[in-house]
Amino acid sequence: MNYESTKVIVKEPFKKRVVEKMKDIRRGFRHITPGWVMLYVFMLLLAAFCLLPIVYMISASLKPYDELFYFPPRFFVEKPTFDNFTNLFSALSNSTVPFTRYLFNSIVITVATVTGTCLVCSMGAYGLSKFKIPGGTAMFNIIIATLMFSPYVTRIPSFLVVSNLGLLDSFFGIVIVSVGASSNFFLMKQFIDQYPYELIEAARIDGAGEFRIFWKIVMPAQKPALSALIVFSFVASWNDYFTPLIFLSKQSMRTLPLALQSLAGGAGAATLATAGITAAASLLMTLPVIVIFVIMQRKVIETMTYAGIKG
């Protein structure tokens, strides 16, 4: 008896709910006009244009040797294997400079550059933003103007400086020329400008030391800007081809982009036989930058909100 009544009560609203839900779904689809569909199709095609080369790189790096010679060429791998990666590390390990050495060089240089950039730029931006430095405004205008400098222009004299300091063919030499990049400083300064001065003042009243205020109070609030700096300096340093090309002449000091360039044999020399192993090396170069951006995407975009130049 009791059971019967509950059944009736539950049944009715449930049916109603389903009907309502169906109506909702239909209403949700009402804004799908032909124009809307075309827009999505167009954007998806553009996204495919952007991503296909990366997908191909992944597919090619997993191709076994015989699949590289298929005709007509096939886009996707059929029997994926990690042979290309093991070959990359083992077959090249008995050459004079093993592949792992280039990997090591790239990692050391990039980590040092990223750390240096974050430290130097955030300290500098804090100093310029929250203190009255004589000529500070003029200085910032000069820094904005240097956003227009091509890094190639400054490389010759930097090369002369580094070579006179005896720092050619050293990790330190290549790191110090890129740590003071004005674009990263600019982003940090724009972001730190948003931080309320009152909080710093309050910390001073509480008796905190100047460095402690910077490190323990201001910096934790700058995580978005630091993420942006990490991404941008990581990408710039990891991918840099020109600077290591001129600053590092010793084979054992060279970085991944240079190694990859000689592995691929340069233009015209790319053969089907080496396509798998070079794709594997390219993937090793490309994945880290993608992963690091995916992790920090939201924070990077948050930082970029303040990146406008008033001019």
Partner: protein, 303 residues
């Protein structure tokens, strides 16, 4: 006098007292910035009027380097022409594409996914991607593009994309455009996402009906700072084409078909070690970027 504790601790006073601390914070960046950004431009200007081979001391030669560059160095003129061709196509196209796609993406679902797809190409390494481009544009029938075009019946013989000087330019332009949605795109996306809601609402009340009107009267005018940042980014990028051209076409490229100013600079500075002459090339590049940048700043100035 009823001086409240707040008034006694005026921020201004704190500013003045702690100046030296601010200077200390700023100093490391300042030194690196001056030594590796400001001084190099000044030094390059000086060196551009000399003969300098890194072994003997530089000797003054007046404007000889510039005369040689513009009057006798046909390859430099060619590199200038190539660089401009790249810049005029890839700069504006990349810039427009970045803005339009940021604007469209903001109205779509799966914003994050789209943003990721569009941004990824610009953070890939030119050298790493060249491995893929060399397969796509491979000159034989194994190349994906040739294969595709033959199957479509558009061509009967494979085209030597990466070897034929007349095709190389097209190839590099396509690759550059693929990579061109960089910093500008992110700034546009962030800017559009954070537009003042009230501004958009009041626009609707004032009679703005279509998305295009909204773009014209509200979004573009209030995004000038972002537009300027993006523009400066694309100018330096578009004029600095180098590594992708070398990786795809080799150095020097066949018939110097994609020889750029930066490639010429590399050739004279770090192959021939004629630092005076190379500095003159650097200064020409510097002047071009700076003048175009200043014009853009004038156009997109806020207030």
């Amino acid at each position: 006098m009823a001086a409240s504790p707040l008034a006694m601790k005026k921020p201004k006073h704190g500013h003045l007292e702690k100046n030296w601390v601010g200077l200390l914070f700023f100093l490391p960046f300042f030194i690196l910035f001056v030594v590796f950004t400001i001084a190099p431009v000044v030094v390059a200007m000086g060196l551009s009027f000399t003969n300098y081979n890194m072994i003997q001391t530089p000797d003054f030669s007046g404007i000889t380097n510039y005369k040689l560059l513009f009057l006798d160095d046909d390859i430099f003129i060619l590199s200038l022409k190539n660089t401009f061709t790249f810049a005029i196509i890839t700069g504006p196209v990349g810039y427009l594409m970045s803005f339009v796609s940021a604007w469209v993406i903001n109205n779509l679902k799966f914003k994050t996914g789209f943003a990721l797809a569009f941004y990824i190409p610009s953070i890939t390494s030119g050298v790493a991607m060249s491995v893929i481009w060399l397969v796509v544009f491979s000159p034989d029938k194994y190349g994906y593009l040739n294969n595709f075009l033959i199957n479509m019946g558009l061509i009967s013989e494979p085209i030597a994309w990466t070897q034929d000087p007349t095709q190389l330019m097209t190839v590099i332009v396509i690759i550059q455009i693929w990579m061109s949605m960089g910093g500008g795109f992110l700034v546009f996306l962030a800017g559009i996402q954070n537009l003042n809601r009230e501004l958009l609402e009041s626009g609707k009340i004032d009679g703005i009906k279509t998305k295009f009107q909204e773009l014209q009267y509200i979004i573009l005018p209030s995004m000038k700072p972002q537009l300027l940042y993006g523009a400066i980014n694309s100018v330096t990028g578009a004029l600095g084409v180098y590594d992708i051209a070398v990786a795809v076409a080799g150095f020097p490229s066949p018939n110097y078909a994609v020889h750029t100013i930066v490639a010429h600079l590399y050739d004279y500075a770090f192959v021939r070690f004629q630092m005076g002459y190379a500095s003159a090339i650097a200064i020409v590049l510097f002047a071009m970027t700076f003048i175009i940048g200043k014009i853009i700043m004038r156009v997109l100035r806020s207030e």
